[in-house]
Symmetry: C2
Subunit: 385 residues, 2 copies
């Protein structure tokens, strides 16, 4: 029996759609360079496969969150050296966003990783590593409003006071991160833009002249003032709408298809699922699908969301169980829902963004939570992956 | 550098605590046999390790959700044959809860899996497989109120009408599943008990005499009337409170420890995180921990939960990011929160159940969502695992 048949659901990941989204973002951001953010295992879709496909699409700069993720991605690229339009002469640049902890320096060097330096202590740590490892690459992160990572204004002085620290490094660019880019009218966007400019102006001369990396996915759609020389889209590559108030300009990347494993004909009053949360009083047909919150199909979807059968929306009834979800398929004729009938959980009828909204969250969380029990199928017409 | 240092957080899984919880449940359920539910990869903690430890504690019956999970667990037990008090003479029995789809029969036989039969179609399928494979083991699932899986009343007649189907099989027990066991006062518990008894009475004679399997974790605490001959605890094994209205009788199994990677001193009005959702007007110290919703640290915790530093609760401020969480650590002296300071996400101060409550969900979902970027450490004094 095939793995597709054996799994509770099949997750199809369209790598070519990711490449098309990359091209769309390149068009939008030009002349800025477009990096690919592949942290959190490529937003849950497989950092290796995604990064290789992005490389083929022209991407040369990759961002991960943790050193461990960078190490894995570097190993992948070493095992499967990418052959791009330039014959693979240019090695993929892998940037690590999360601050390093003392002791990790040799790992970063060994795996040719570029840390994004987030604070004075990290800068000092990385500069000290040059004594053993020679001149090292880095990026500089300025915090303009996230209050999460990056140098804040009061920490900028040390860059001028100890110019030998940054001087010891090959700092490639200066970046910041937008907090409200998905809300184009939010005043913080313009505040961050102004503060980024002001903070860069306060940097010592060699750093002041460095290229800027500014926008995330949504930021790209705020216009050129938010691009800098390199943009860093993540979620838009994977098909989430970076412009929530307007139609989605991105191609859909994931489809999730389960199947009906049981249908219950109800002809008397009873309840569905845990907590007896869903009473059924009329005649109804309840179908069970072997996907649950253990698969990242969030429990918050209980009684809130829907799936689709043959393009017809069918409501989720009762709570989501760990391994199972129950649907009211009464709207469909009985002959349309035999055991084995495919059920769309994410697809042309129920988009990723809609599913996320029903769960009270955002597409990012749905993607990164996609479960490990799904049978995963990668689609690409590109020969080499 | 060690994996612990390199990861954003370390998840410690106390296998001996699982064994202690198993013993506690055995005491409660005696004389009923106690199975171990290890579906969803052992509630996220690693089905192989958990099942082996449960075996050493005396468990012989295991339940998984999907055939694929059963196949993996059987392979594990074949690779590492368990040596129990009986010298491993008795093979682990692995039951598959989810209905089988036509085509899976040979896989179940090859891996010595026992399907729980949920409906007439499945019974017929498994009975037909005996033509090729000889007499096959099974269990029978009656739906007494979950409206999810199992024979409903109107489907019982076929068991009498076609006695040759069940007759071809070695049916070991009859089970049902409680919908409201965590709510001892809920009338559905008693209704399910009565209906289970009535439905069993309606079974043809050979099936009527079979042992019953009734309670899940919480059901064990409803008392002997809900036990039958075998109980099937899952979540209580892993430390979640099966009696939410009373103190938790189970030992804690998981600890999750992150660390501070950056501290921001705020001395002017600004906001924290995405959406500028958390305004800070007074002087404050914001610490960043490299754990986010991509690690299953649910986004719903933003502004709702807390962590602990040295036993002191510190509130989560702003939204949870994909890879990062921000805490207000102003309540602690500055010297107590240097970079590298351990942060308890789940542990003696913040229990799994409390964390789940803060996220608006249940411990089950937190467990099964525990991320793959954590460094996992298994603790056991038991020699063989």
């Amino acid at each position: 029996m095939s793995a597709t048949d054996r799994a509770g659901a099949t997750l199809t990941i369209d790598l070519d759609a990711i490449a098309r989204n990359y091209a769309t973002l390149c068009d939008r951001a030009t002349p800025a360079r477009v990096a690919g953010v592949v942290k959190a295992n490529g937003y849950g879709l497989g950092a290796d496969r995604v990064a290789s496909r992005l490389w083929k699409a022209g991407c040369r700069d990759f961002f991960v969150a943790l050193p461990e993720e960078g190490i894995r991605l570097r190993r992948h690229f070493r095992r499967y050296p990418p052959a791009g339009p330039d014959g693979g002469a240019e090695a993929p640049r892998i940037h690590v966003l999360c601050p390093m902890i003392r002791g990790i320096e040799a790992d970063l060097v060994a795996h040719d990783l570029i840390p994004v330096l987030n604070n004075p202590a990290e800068l000092a740590l990385w500069a000290a590593a040059t004594a053993r490892h020679g001149r090292l690459p880095a990026a500089l992160h300025l915090d303009t409003g996230m209050t999460r990572l990056g140098f804040i204004e009061s920490e900028l002085d040390m860059l001028s006071e100890k110019p030998e620290l940054a001087g010891a490094l090959d700092i490639r660019f200066v970046m910041t991160h937008l907090a409200c880019a998905d809300l184009p009218e939010h005043p913080l966007n313009e505040e961050q833009r102004r503060l980024f400019s002001a903070m860069r102006d306060r940097l010592p001369a060699p750093l002041r002249a460095l290229p800027a990396s500014f926008a995330n996915s949504s930021g790209i759609f705020l216009g050129p003032a938010f691009h800098g020389e390199m943009v860093r889209p993540g979620v838009a590559l994977y098909g989430v709408n970076p412009t929530p108030s307007r139609p989605n300009p991105m191609a859909q990347v994931v489809q999730l298809q389960g199947k009906i494993v049981q249908v219950h004909e109800i002809d008397r009053g009873r309840t569905v699922g845990y907590g007896a949360a869903h009473p059924v009083t009329r005649k109804a047909r309840i179908a069970t699908v072997p996907v649950g919150y253990a698969d990242g199909y969030l429990r918050a979807l209980g009684g809130q969301g829907h799936c689709a059968v043959n393009g017809v929306r069918v409501p989720i009834v009762g709570r989501i169980s760990m391994d199972l979800t129950t649907l009211d398929v009464s709207a469909l004729p009985e002959a349309a829902t035999p055991i084995g009938t495919p059920v769309e959980l994410i697809g042309p009828t129920v988009s990723l963004d809609e599913l996320a909204g029903n769960a009270g969250t955002i597409g990012y969380e749905i993607l990164t939570g996609l479960g490990r029990r799904y049978h995963r199928v990668y689609r690409t017409r590109s020969e080499a992956v």
